[in-house]
């Protein structure tokens, strides 16, 4: 009911099934449908039968690259379907020496952005039965008839500000590239927060972070959080206490974000994974914005050869403090 394009899916299936059958890859990481048409979940396909479940539609949000950390332990060669963000995540892991390039086949899928079911349902008003898509529009099929909405307005937060819909690294591009996007509003939320007073900003974060359950979904979904042992679990010294105190919430979220300084690929999986909707991308983007301002434009994950800004320096670097 929500297939983006069956022709596209056939094309993808054909390419990957060839490789899976010939043994070029042992496993394909893709997506399959969940319980409902607006859910697509990870698929671990190792046979043609598994591939019958493969899907490619407007709900394939899960970033698959992170699964390589485990799957490369069990498989010699793994194929991954990568959207723009998944491919940047792959570069992140590559730069962190967590994966080997020659053991992975990347199938590029240019992605116009993932739709947010909650936005669709809110727009629909009455019960939403399904959608179709056409020329940048989404047609909502509701109990009371059809409603047409602009697709860009129905995107997940993480996609509405995406700069790179096309995969930046791939072995095989399976669909037609979409080209780089202009996102003038990328730092809008950051700018708005910066305009507040310290007190207001603190109150804002204290409230947002107070919902944190410390479930660590943000960390587990994140391609830059690939440490074997996270500071959170470190026993000696014990940095992160388990209490739900504001001080512990701030410690976790500031350090988590800071560990992504110059490394965060801005895929937004942290924020998507958060069960209580904490705006985590604002912390990540603050760091991206500052580092770009201070040390030159850098987009993590776009070019695996380019050195991350916090791993290098120039003698004449500016500082965010007085150097007199």
């Amino acid at each position: 009911m929500a297939e983006r394009n069956l022709e596209q899916l056939e094309k993808i299936r054909e390419a990957v099934s060839q490789d899976l059958l010939s043994g070029r890859i042992e496993l394909l990481l893709g997506w399959e449908k969940g319980h409902y048409w607006w859910q697509s979940r990870p698929l671990f396909a190792s046979s043609e039968g598994d591939l019958a479940r493969l899907t490619w539609d407007s709900f394939c949000a899960v970033n698959l690259s992170r699964y390589l950390l485990d799957e490369l332990k069990d498989h010699q060669k793994v194929g991954v379907l990568v959207k723009g963000c998944d491919s940047r995540a792959f570069n992140r892991l590559l730069q962190d020496n967590m994966v080997q390039r020659d053991r992975v086949i990347l199938y590029g899928l240019p992605c116009p952005g993932i739709l947010d079911y909650n936005l669709l349902a809110a727009e629909a008003g009455s019960k939403l039965k399904g959608i179709t898509e056409e020329n940048g529009q989404v047609i909502l099929k509701t109990e009371d008839g059809e409603i047409e909405v602009n697709r860009d307005e129905m995107l997940m937060v993480k996609c509405s500000e995406c700069l790179y819909p096309d995969p930046v690294v791939y072995d095989q591009m399976l669909l037609e590239p979409l080209g780089q996007k202009e996102v003038p509003e990328r730092f809008k939320a950051v700018n708005e927060l910066e305009a507040l007073s310290s007190e207001e900003r603190f109150a804002y974060w204290e409230k947002e972070l107070s919902r944190c359950l410390r479930c660590y979904a943000c960390r587990q979904a994140c391609p830059y959080c690939s440490c074997r042992e996270c500071f959170v679990e470190q026993e000696n010294p014990r940095w992160q206490g388990r209490a739900y105190q504001p001080s512990e919430n701030f410690l976790f979220h500031l350090v988590r974000a800071y560990h992504g300084a110059g490394r965060c690929i801005d895929c937004g999986e942290c924020q998507r994974a958060c069960p209580v909707n904490i705006p985590l991308q604002e912390l990540n983007r603050k760091l991206i914005k500052d580092i770009n301002e201070l040390y030159g434009d850098y987009e993590a994950g776009v070019d695996a050869e380019k050195e991350p800004p916090l791993l290098t320096y120039r003698p004449d670097d500016p500082a965010a403090f007085s150097e007199k």
Binding site: F44, A217, Y244, A273
Partner: protein, 337 residues
Amino acid sequence: MKKMIAADELAKLWIRLAEKSTLFLPVQDGPTVLYQPWKDGAQVELEAFNSAISPKDIFLPREETYLHYHCSGQSLELAAVEDDRAVTAFGIHPCDLKAIEMLDRVFMEQEPADSLYQKRREKTTVVALSCTKPDPFCFCGIFDVDPLDAPGADVMAHLVDGYMHLEARTEKGKALLEEAGDLLENSTIDKIEREIKTTDFGLDIKGLPEDLKSRFDDPAWDELYKSCLSCGVCTYVCPTCYCFDVEDYGHDAEGERFRCWDSCMFGHFTQMAGGHNPRPSRKERVRQRFMHKLQYYPEVYNEIACVGCGRCLRSCPVNLDIVQAIKALGGEKVEHR
């Protein structure tokens, strides 16, 4: 005792109830609905389906300090910390109340009883609220939850045509209605008629617990866990999960000990000091969680530890939820397989 109050007068009721107890209500907090202590101006969302996190933390708080210590030289003093406040838990849905009754068995019926939980439970008056419009993830029907009635409630409430009808079921419930007697009028309805349709996802759970007894090493476990991210979302939003940790905070001279939520999905959960871990990988941990719900708990208490609230379906970032698990383990109607 059956009373009612106009829905637009409810704020008066909140004020009254909050005078003598901590009043928990489903409140809009940013983009989520959570059960929180009521404050003036809070945006109460009685019809939201469903709160992002279950109301279990009214009874089993995320964090509760139970002792203070003082040390000087070699001597140590321990002082118990007790929480004696009365609580009103308002707007608890039948599924969530059933889940709390499942926790009761673990924390109160099973020896030794947990005094922290028991005290809080005894001090709490539960006002349950029947459902009006369940969301697509609600599947309480297969667990025999009646979305229109919560048998364990102190007061059973219904929202009908702009009125909230309140029926006291226990002494505690009666006392609550009497407390607010001047705000209430006699209820005009006798029985609530409402058709509630929830999905069943094609599940058939009959005999599943017994069936799973011999399936600890089932090949289904080798596939099911793969998408798991090893985060704790499912366990923290779940109304029937209750794993906890105990931790100290303080320095050499004084501090406290508290208990807080923990999750069996975390790798460190079972890791021993020497390094050995009986559940070393995601596979063992995913199996533990689902087996606990579907086999271990029912083995002791004769009931699957799930109420179909749908929170794990809504919140798991990779849709690895209990329905997925039940299906993978063969708990599906024949025509759906």
